[in-house]
């Protein structure tokens, strides 16, 4: 999916007709979001029980019950004098917030890309474009960043629940 997104982004920059550039550009945002979503789902769905299936529910699930569970985990770790796990829980909480932010932003941009054709892609220069103030360079980082954050979260989760 990410390969497709990268290709679409390159095409958006290469093409000259404004309407084509817009279509390729918004499709690139859409694919970067889906690449990110699929990475998060494949990393976390199996390990975290009750993981939501709807796109819009995942960020709230992460910042709600997952964060609460990590906070509880940090308390258990402290009681067991496990500084290593306590630090891991802290990192996982930060990662979880980042992940929720990425998914929220990505989902919002995907909604604009798919349902708001009146909001056009803005071309910054020959190398960059954006949609509703979100740059394509930011979207390109979503899948990698989401993978890093998901791995941190699933590591902490396994330590607490295995």
């Amino acid at each position: 999916m990410e390969v497709v997104a990268l290709h679409l982004a390159e095409e958006a920059l290469r093409l000259t007709r404004q309407s084509d550039r817009d279509l390729f550009g918004r499709s690139a945002f859409n694919r970067f979001y889906y690449a990110t979503f699929l990475i998060v789902r494949s990393q976390l769905h199996a390990s975290i029980g009750n993981f939501p299936t709807t796109h819009s529910a995942i960020p709230e699930f992460l910042t709600g019950s997952v964060t609460r569970e990590l906070s509880k985990g940090a308390q258990y770790a402290k009681r067991a004098d496990d500084a290593e796990l306590s630090k891991l829980c802290s990192r996982a909480r930060t990662a979880t917030k980042n992940l929720a932010d990425i998914l929220r932003t990505g989902y919002s941009v995907r909604v604009i890309a798919d349902y708001k054709p009146e909001i056009l892609i803005e071309f910054e220069n020959v190398e960059s474009f954006g949609l509703n103030t979100v740059l394509i360079s930011e979207a390109k980082a979503w899948p990698h960043k989401a993978l890093a954050m998901s791995v941190t979260l699933s590591s902490a989760w396994k330590q607490l629940h295995a």
Partner: protein
Amino acid sequence: MLSEDELVRYIESREIHVAGSVIEDAAGSASYLVFVKVIRDSDNKQVPSNRKLHLVREKLASEGTPVEFMLKDAYASDVEAGLRASLLHSFIESIRNVFMSVVSSSAHVWIEQKHQLTDAELDEMKSKTVRYLQEFDLSLMTFKTTVDENFPTKFACLKAVRQFAPITVAALSQRLELAGFSVPSLDWLSRRLDSIRRSGQLVWTDGGAYVMSLKGIRALGTKKNRQSPDLARLLALARRGG
């Protein structure tokens, strides 16, 4: 429910700056998606604060206009991009990407590595990161690679001993591996268990197996639900006919 224009006016009147257009969520949840520009004050604190955003969000929801705020922190993005460029420039053979998250004035940094990094390489990257962050009055809170941190922690070892005690080091190693952990060697696990024993949470029996001490059981606590460790213990005993 407020219209898009009314919503922007309402939010801006609370000194929260909307970036781009306000979007009505397409998922049928009758809510708005709002991008908000955030900046940093002289103490590196986020403006508007999360608390302020939360209060405005609650107020709007109570008045029938649910919103979801997406924060655009240009400063944090710039610092992250600079750190990424700086580390990639110096360690292009070793790392693929760098991510950073800023919480208050602390930075959490993740390194995506191309190969297993040596301690010396990591130390060098870390000190370069610290020097870079100092320029922005940020301190380095964590510096980790993005690989799965898969060795069982003390807590995970204790949980497994609690469930399967009395258990030898070799049997515990198998149990931990079945649970998805990597155990580097029996010697590594023996040292870890011995350190827990010295802290008084485990007891080593004459038969060469480990059991929990009362201190260890108290430290782990219990749960009165289907994740109860006592139930897990009973089931494990039943399975082996104990």
